[in-house]
Every structure is written in C-alpha cells, then in structure tokens.
Subunit: 429 residues, 2 copies
C-alpha cells in the first residue's frame, strides 16, 4: 500500500513532537497502520528556529495556507492554533482540496466546528480532533466510537490542566489564589496572561465540542455558561474539605428537562468520587451512558508527547481507512441545541457568608432561604466572636438556581451580612 | 446503504441485553453507524426461557454452530462463553464462512486468540472483542487505536470485579476473607464455585489478550504467573493501610530487561494512585505509553448494560467499515513472546512474619535479608508480648524476586519464626 503523506502546519512543541514521533517510530506506525506514514511538507512562522528536529528533508513553506492548498499530502495536520486567521484558512483550504485534516485546535472547532464538519463531509474527507480535548486521553474516540451504542446522559470533565494544578496546589498547601497563580506562572504551568485558562475559556471551548459530539447537537459556544476559578478562596477549599468535598473546575454537559445544560464553573464533588482524586496538571473525562453507566478516563491533558500521541492516533485511523462522522452523526443530522437556561439548573449548593456574629443572624438567613423554598442540609459555624465577622457555611438540598439567586439577593441585603454571599454548585456524583 | 445483519449466539444476560439495545436504540444506532442494524438469527440452549425480550421476529436456531455456518447475517455475535466447545466452533464456522465475529469471550481468546486472528485475517473478516476485557470501558479500542502511536511500556488493571468487590469490602469492614466471600456469594457477586474469579484465572485470561494487543506478541496464557486473593488477610489489609498502601488484585504486563512480565497477583499500590481508589465491582485499566505517559480508564467491568455497550461499539465499527488488526498488528507480525521468569522480577516487597517476641529476633531476620542483598525500607512492630506470637512487618527496597525467595526460605527456618513468611509485591506507580 502507498505511504500516507502528511503536511504539518505549525512547528511549536506539539508540531516538533509529532515530527519526532513520525521519524523515530516509523516502523511501529507502519506495522500498526498497515502502511508507511511520511511527512512531506512543513510550515511555520520562523524557518531558522531550533526545534530539536532536522527539517531539511521536508519541503518548507513560509505560507501554511498556500501549503494546504498546493500540497500533495493526503493529510494536513493543523497545529497553529487560534479560532480564526491562518489556522482556519489552513483547514478550509485543505478540505476544499479534498485533503483530510487532523487538528488539535479546540478554539477553532468551538467557533466553526459545524461549518468545518459540513465542509469535510462535502469533500469526503476526515476532520479529526482527538488532540483538541483532554490531550492524550482517547476521550473523543471513546465517546464517538466506544460509547456509540449509548444515549449519553451527562459528560463532564477536568478539562484544563492549569486550573486543576492550581486548585490541587491550593488545597495541598492552604495558600491563596494569587500566590499559587504567581508560582504557576513562574513554573510555566500558567501563561503570563492567564485569563484564557483561569477564566474558564479554554475549558468552555473543549466542553462545547465534546457536548456537540456527545449529544448530537451543533456546536454552540455561546450557550456555555462560563465561570473561572478567580473567586475560589483558601477558606472555601478548607470548608469543602471539612464537608467531604473537593473543589474542581468542571466542564459539564447534561440533558435536563429544560434542555441541554452546558456549563464550566468551580464545583464541589464528593471526596469519594474518582474525579476528586485527579490532582495536578491532569485531565479527566466522565461519561454517563444509558448502557454503560459511568466511566472515568484520566491522563495527561497537555504537552508535546500526549498531544502528539492523540494526533498520531487520528493519523493512523486515516491510514487504516477508518472514519466516523466528525461529531458522531452526519452534520445534517446534528440537532439545533435547545439550551437550558442556567436559572433552571437544579442541584445542591454550598453557600458561604461573612456575617457579623450577633444573635438571630442565622435564623434570618434560614428564613430567607425557606421563603424561597430552599431547605438546608447542614450548617457550619466555627467559633464565636461577638460583633466580629465570622464565616457561616450552609449546604442546601437540591433547589433551582433561580430560587437560590433570589434568596441570596435577599440575604445580601441583611444588615449583619458583611460581604456578598458566595455560592458554589455541588455536582451529584 | 443496506442494513448490517446480526446473528446472535447465546441469549444469557448479555445476549438478551444486546437484543434489547438493538431494538430500543435502532434509530440512534442507525444515525451513528450510517446504516440500519438488524438482528436476523438467534440461538440459545433453551428456546422457551423467559428473557424479557420477544424473540419471535427472529429466526430461531437450536444449533448455534449450524446457525453460524448457514446464516446470511454479516456478523455473528458469540456470547456463549467458554474456551472451547460450541463457542469456539461458532467463531470458527463464522470466520470460515467469511462472516465478521464479535465476541465477549476472554477464555476463548486467551486459549485460541492467535489462531482465530489468523483465521479472521485469512477470511478478510473482523474479529472484535472489546467486551472481553474490562466490560464497558473502551480499553481495547484505547490500546489498539487511541495509543497506536505509542510503544506501550506497561499495561495493568483491576480486571476482575468480584475480587475488587471483596478486597474493597474487606478493607471497609475489617472482616476476613471467608466472611466476605460468603456474603459476596449470597449477593450474587461471586459464584457458588468462586475459584475462577478468586484464584485469578479470569483476570489471567484478560491479561493475556490485553498483553498480546499492547506488546504485539502472540497470546500466551501459559506464560502468565497467577496468584489469587485467598491468602489476603484482614491483618495485611490493615498493615497496608497503615503503610500508605491498598491491596488490589492486579493483572500486569510489563517489558523488562528479562523479557515480558505477565502476572496476576495481589499488589500493594500507593494510596495516592488513582487505581487505589477504584472500589467495588469496578474495573480499571492503566496504560503507560512512550508518548502519552500514564492514563487510567475505569468503569463497570461486567453486567448486561456495560457488556452490551461494548458489543454494540464493535458492531458499529463493523457497520462503518472500520477495521484494525485483531491484536493491533497483522497476525503474521506478532512476535513470539519472550517471557520474563518471575524469579527475575524486580520490585519492592511487603513481608509479614509471625514471630515469637524475644530479643534479637528482628536482628537475625534483618541479617538474613542483608545476606541476600536485600535492604530494608521500614519495619513495623506493634506492642510487646514476650514469648507470644506477634506480627512483624518489613518493607524492602527494590530487589530481585529470586533473592527475596531465598531470604524468606532461610527466615522460615529460624526458631522464632512461627508461620511461613507472607509476602506481597509492591507495584511502583
């Protein structure tokens, strides 16, 4: 069988890692794929940069889009990144020319996934994106193929390694957010501008495309409710521990009576749940299917090796002639997304108040909750300090988010309540 | 596209579950597979039995082998079980007639996997076995496709739900093996004759075929070192806890300097490891690859739903036209297995002795270990009871199994040592 030829656009850590993998493991890949896999074209911004791999045996292109248009390769691997600009143009040009595309680009798919899926189908080409979600974990393959006999009930995960590293570190050391962020930046786990990670944007991109695949709907990034981890404090992490929970930034998509919930926010999860023990720069994906029940897949979510592993898996599938629809079903069959409003979310909540310690404060807080139909599971109040500020923690039974918000607005207006109430959703597991 | 037709051999829990799935989720399966999936033929031992599904719309066969030979179905699903007899004959007849085979039968594959793989390749047919290992977890797909760009370094797992349930229960309740086994039998988690599970035979079948896939070697069940969990005591579980370990029955395949290790035995794993927290009737598979690092997949390892989910995934792959070699590479490319002798295993060990509490006992035990080049990491001795029997626990640094055995034989001969020494391997994670 003839070799499968690759054109690689983008030679950062992952791109260079892929070139190294294809060179070093050529015989292994051939054995597993049933044919030789060869790089023929490469493109990046700076030709001269030292990437730790020799590129002189490949045709160099300054212009990745021109390469995608003119290459004789069977597959264009897009590792440029970014939701628009050259990454998008490269994928479009490649599909337009009938070439398969493998990409690690979650931002691109979150913004233009449905259009690109249609273009791929029209061209009879693959558009593969295992590396875009959860790095080296074969989560996309699991949902698209391994669980194809299931109706998916809920899919969720720790989708951002930076946030998980920071929350794990805060719990382990008791340090506050700002200190841990500074250190994560010094160690290279967080960017100089960390907002893409810590505000939940990256996780939202991944959730939007994962949800599209799991629920057979069009990708709808705008429908994802996004909260990051800036508001998570050492105090709340300590209270969570005391209550038998861990705080994780989760991306969750769930079918509810109100429609499809898609949300990224800090969650409390029971300490017995496997996902509570996923610490550090690691990702995890939990899938709940009608047949299989609950499964958990965890592993390295980023880095050259894991990402190149996922890209290589997509390439080998293409080499073997194996195909599945981009988002699990034909693009024309993707249902428009019926988004559940966040106000309709039902669940238990952790509420933490800073109140002035005086008689009857708790009674009036409880009364506001009761007036909105919210019942209390437990209350935690530490020490006494008359007329000083003290934290009060309340865990509610399941309630609707709109009622919780109304109750908290009322509570915030009470004299003894010294700061805006803080709440964290508790995810049932 | 024409429908994909199935013939189902074996209508126990899983078979009936599959029939139900194919009927209830017909539209979903069609959407995902790109074509209709229909059952045409069924076979089981007793026609009259109530299975909770109506079978009158399918052609009934008393003889599954005759069905496999004569059916017009595209795929024969073998759910009879057993390493030989009708299960083997059904698979051979189906492949011989050029039909695809989907099976959940680990015993069959562990005994005849390489032969069946060759027969499938010769027939140009699929032989798919996702359901044979780790139930609903898509572990086979992960290793064969998701990690196809990796050299696998180690693959291991909790492969038997019964044993994991029992060990979890022993730890949680502090009860001994016999009591927990009795209860597991009453609850239906363990068979009346439990030896297939608790002596590690079932886990060995699964490990042998998983190792073949991961390392590209012929299946070699005889090369698997097997120990079950009968020797695990409440005492050792408590000591493990105190030392920061959990005891799990693991199946482990690892490439070492001495060859391929394949072993099933009780292991101590560090309590921080994700696999330490996989409790109950659950399976988990850990894969370590050259690119991806370490990933952990966990979920329900048995039962009608999870097993039917895995069988359905294989069927959908066949419907989509997706193929991969049965054991990851063409059967002719499978390397003969270079088995590492167990004596050459290197690792740390937990040793528990019952000794008569008198002066210098520990010194002479330590001296025997030292004479065989074994160094001690820690010693645990609780309380004092002069001239009574007391447990002494020793954790060693990494050593070779042959040295450990020689040292323990010597220790067993010491006067103050009241019972044969017990040892448990500690698995580095």
């Amino acid at each position: 069988m003839t070799a499968l030829r690759l054109a690689v656009a983008g030679l950062g850590t992952v791109g260079a890692g892929l070139v190294r993998l294809v060179e070093r493991e050529a015989d292994l890949l051939e054995l597993r794929a049933g044919r030789r896999i060869e790089i023929v074209d490469v493109s990046a911004r700076e030709r001269g940069r030292d990437r730790g791999v020799a590129l002189d045996r490949y045709r160099w292109h300054d212009d990745a889009v021109a390469m995608a248009r003119s290459t004789e390769a069977d597959v264009v691997v897009e590792l440029i990144g970014g939701s628009d600009g050259p990454a998008k143009a490269v994928c479009e040009a490649a599909l337009d020319a009938g070439r398969h595309v493998v990409t690690a680009n979650k931002a691109l798919l979150a913004h233009h996934g449905a259009d690109l899926a249609r273009a791929a189908e029209a061209a009879g080409a693959a558009l593969s994106w295992e590396a875009a979600v959860a790095g080296g974990i074969p989560a996309i393959k699991a949902v698209r193929e391994g669980f194809a006999g299931n109706e998916i009930r809920r899919v969720m995960g720790i989708l951002n390694g930076t946030c998980n590293y920071m929350l794990s570190d805060m719990r382990r050391t008791g340090r506050d957010f700002a200190t841990v962020l500074k250190e994560a930046q010094d160690l290279g786990y967080a960017e100089a501008d960390p907002s893409f990670d810590i505000d939940g944007v990256d996780a939202a991109h991944k959730l939007a495309i994962l949800a599209s695949l799991a629920f057979g709907t069009g990708v709808d990034l705008a429908a994802v409710h996004v909260e990051g981890i800036r508001s998570v404090s050492a105090l709340d992490i300590a209270f969570a521990e005391e209550l038998g929970y861990r705080i994780k930034l989760l991306g969750i998509a769930r079918q509810s009576d109100a429609g499809l919930e898609q949300r990224v926010h800090p969650c409390m999860v029971p300490v017995e749940a496997p996902i509570a023990h996923v610490d550090g720069v690691v990702n995890a994906v939990v899938v709940e299917g009608s047949q299989v029940g609950r499964t958990v897949l965890e592993g390295p979510g980023a880095g050259a090796g894991p990402t190149a592993s996922a890209v290589a898996a997509d390439i080998i599938d293409i080499a073997r002639g194996n195909r599945a629809p981009v988002f699990g079903v034909p693009a024309a069959a993707l249902q428009p997304l019926q988004a559940a409003p966040m106000d309709a979310h039902r669940g238990a909540y952790y509420i933490r108040l800073m109140v002035v310690d005086r008689p009857r404060v708790l009674a009036s807080v409880a009364s506001s909750l009761g007036a909105h139909g919210i019942s209390i599971e437990s209350v935690l109040q530490r020490g006494r300090a008359p007329e000083e500020r003290v934290p009060v923690v309340i865990v509610t039974h399941e309630t609707e988010e709109r009622d919780l918000k109304a109750a908290l607005a009322e509570i915030a207006r009470q004299d003894a309540v010294a700061e805006p109430p803080l709440s964290i959703r508790i995810e049932a597991l």
